[in-house]
Amino acid sequence: MEERIRPAAAATVPLELDALYEAYADMIYRLALVRTRNRADAEDVLQDVFFRCLRRQPHFRDQEHQKAWLITAAINSSKSLLDRADRRHGVGPEALEFLSTEDDTDNSVYNAVMQLPEKYRTAVHLFYYEGYSVEEIGKMTDTNPSTVKSHLHRAREALRTVLKEDEPDV
């Protein structure tokens, strides 16, 4: 609303494919995977987001601005993908087998998150993994901050139920 304190001089932001990939591929892929619960779909989203960025060459104030733009684009892209009925996938061990080979506790937490409804998963990921505030998540997902809060609250409740033996400190 009002003019806020601005960051210092704008940093250089990557707008070439390899630079974008190096800087943001993991981030976009992880978010897309949380939303789509399918690796092939997550790759589609990753490609769609980067190509969209390359085609449009948006003006970014700084890297934070670019990161937020890419996250919003990933949310929109995965939403479009999920809206297509024939592309819906459930969570199953075949989709997430890479999480069953290492630390069991971490995997159980991740898999518990993946069992949440889609809007809760997105809020949990952006809040706990990317470290965005409720207000920032609201802007990215076009949702009221109070709704985001509610999603996080319900997600925590659901996670407590799923992870009875190891209650999350959330």
């Binding site: 601005r6 892929y29 790759e43």
Partner: protein, 599 residues
């Protein structure tokens, strides 16, 4: 615990290793395809006609059974038609470029201008209501680029959160013609513009332009390139004969001064520069104050103005809140052609607002403090300060009558203060997070997630409402609006708030309302200027209670490549704003009647 586990699990997830190579190959193919399409556009005209004629002859000769040849011929015809449609546009471009290169002044008669102004100021709303929606012809852009333009549009509309159906409908809508548009070559970013309905002054990151709208045509009459391209323009002011643009460049804040006494040929005066990132600027009594935030370093421990360090004597500090961030404040007086004051405060202000005859600065939400400065005379004097029991909601929440709307721990509070900033009264309301608030002489209006509140010493009145911003239209009416284009007109009746009307403008008005803080409202004329995205919008309410919306004729967006231009809006003969691909909006003040026609 959960957070760390979730992070560790995510940190082990990566895309497969060969994905980048696959994407690079696909992207290279797409670029090659685009290059091929551009070559098709460059195909000589005579060759197109020859090929087209050959195609037609072949089709006639071989009959309708030859589907392949038929479609090729049809493609050529489309290209040819596009080339013909392109011709007037190319002439318009040449005209603009010629004006820019030679800085020639395009003249318009006084009578023409008066007629245009009369149209725009007086007759527009009534004419708008009566005017039929005009068909917008195709042919604005080159046909060979259509797929790419539509692709860009589709992504753009999708990014606005439209449904899939709406995205397709918007994308499929025809493009508007360029008869009264001027290319601004405006790069993506923030647009600032000020106009008097005939002349538009437009500073961008690379140039300052003056566009005249006379004879119902927009013409670029002046253009001045700026050194140091790429600096973000922040705010634009007009004091006396000077146009003042504030921009941020390389972490410093600059005031660009232009003498616009001769509106056809502005003169660029010497810039004023102060260290630190832009915080805010405003006009008070014919003077302009500019605020920036400067973080001290070992190499440059004190902020500077015009290359000279601010004297220690001019530095204020709060001994209880030491820090290394300065708020730099300068005051420029066009009448004296110079800065009349420069001060640095060793504190990090969160916001500033002018109210009454004083300037107020406040610090962040935790243990917020409010400082009042007197800008009279030649100095800048700190006259009072107060610790606040909450956070200042926003700049509009500092009222002229020294009322202050705060977000407190359990809701909102309207604090009234005397000249010494001593609290004289408080009225509180238990609410959620305040999204937007404004203080008036008789109370404070604010919006939460689901309600509009009217808070006065008599108490708090609330009503379920949409809300990302609000405007007070008259003594007893508020207009609340949401970012997705919903409007709600609310009556401030003594027995409670009432909804007088509501409308959903769909996406059209959402574009307009994306940043309410940048509205420039003149209650005397009822004009509301809304620099939103790529356009400047205004609305006005006439005596008949009709609200009209229209836009300044700026109107090009350049997608880095000239082949991908899009016309965003245009002014019809009646002065109606035709939103690009979104239609016309005309509605009555009571919002009982809303016409949102798509063309």
């Amino acid at each position: 615990m959960f957070e760390q586990q979730y992070k560790r699990a995510n940190d082990r997830i990566h895309p497969r290793k060969d994905l980048l190579k696959e994407m690079e190959a696909k992207w290279a193919a797409e670029e090659a395809h685009q290059a091929e399409e551009r070559k098709v556009v460059a195909f000589p005209t005579w060759a197109k006609y020859a090929s087209m004629a050959a195609g037609i002859l072949l089709c006639v000769g071989l009959g309708m059974g030859s589907v392949l040849l038929f479609s090729r011929s049809r493609g050529m015809q489309e290209k040819s038609a596009a080339a013909q449609a392109e011709a007037p546009m190319m002439m318009a471009e040449s005209r603009v470029e010629a004006v820019e290169e030679e800085a020639k002044i395009v003249t318009a008669t006084t009578a023409d201008m008066a007629a245009d102004k009369a149209d725009a100021m007086g007759a527009a709303p009534e004419a708008m209501l009566a005017a039929p929606v005009q068909e917008a012809p195709k042919g604005m852009h080159r046909a060979a680029d259509e797929a790419e333009v539509e692709d860009n549009l589709r992504y753009g509309f999708a990014d606005q959160g439209l449904s899939e159906e709406a995205v397709e409908a918007e994308t499929a809508a025809p493009l508007a013609k360029a008869a009264n548009a001027v290319e601004t070559a405006y790069p993506a970013g923030q647009l600032l513009a000020r106009d008097d309905l005939l002349t538009v002054y437009l500073p961008t990151t690379d140039q300052v332009r003056v566009i005249q709208y006379a004879n119902r045509r927009a013409t670029l009459v002046f253009s001045l390139g700026l050194r140091e391209k790429g600096a973000d323009m922040k705010q634009l002011f007009w004091i006396g004969d000077e146009m003042l643009a504030v921009r941020e460049h390389a972490g410093d804040t600059e005031l660009l001064r232009f003498d616009v006494a001769d509106w056809k040929a502005p003169k660029h005066l010497k810039n004023l520069t102060q260290s630190g990132t832009f915080l805010g600027a405003g006009e008070m009594d014919g003077r302009l104050y500019v605020l920036s935030l400067y973080k001290a370093t070992d190499q440059e421990p004190r902020p500077w103005v015009n290359g000279e360090r601010i004297d220690f004597a001019d530095v204020l500090l709060d001994v209880e809140k030491p820090g290394d961030v300065y708020t730099v404040l300068t005051v420029y007086d066009p009448a004296q052609n110079d800065l009349v004051s420069q001060t640095a405060l060793l504190l990090e202000a969160e916001g500033a607002a002018a109210a009454g005859d004083r300037l107020f600065l406040w610090t962040g939400a935790e243990a917020a403090s409010l400082y009042a400065f007197d800008l009279d005379g030649d100095g800048l004097n700190l006259t009072a300060e107060i610790e606040l029991p909450g956070a200042v909601v926003d700049a509009a929440a500092v009222g002229d009558g020294l009322g202050l709307l705060l977000q407190t721990g359990d809701g909102a509070a309207l604090l009234t203060l005397d000249e010494e900033l001593t609290e004289t009264g408080t009225v509180a309301a238990k609410t959620g997070i305040v999204r937007w608030g404004q203080v008036f002489e008789d109370g404070a209006a604010f919006l939460t997630d689901s309600e509009i509140h009217w808070l006065t010493p008599a108490g708090d009145r609330a009503l379920e409402a949409v809300g990302d911003g609000l405007r007070r239209l008259s003594e007893d009416r508020l207009l609340a609006f949401s970012a997705d284009g919903k409007l709600q007109l609310v009556s401030l009746a003594e027995d409670g708030l009432k909804t007088l009307g509501a409308a959903d403008t769909r996406n059209s008005l959402a574009l307009l309302l994306e940043d309410p803080s940048r509205m420039d409202y003149d209650p005397a004329t009822g004009r509301l200027a809304l620099p939103a995205g790529q356009m400047v919008y205004q609305y006005r309410i006439n005596d008949a209670g009709e609200m009209a919306l229209w836009g300044s004729p700026l109107a090009f967006q350049d997608h880095n490549e000239k082949e991908q231009r899009e016309l965003r809006c245009r002014m019809t003969a009646e002065g109606v704003l035709v939103f690009y691909k979104s239609g016309v909006i005309v509605c009555s003040q009571t919002l009982e009647r809303l016409i949102a026609a798509r063309y």
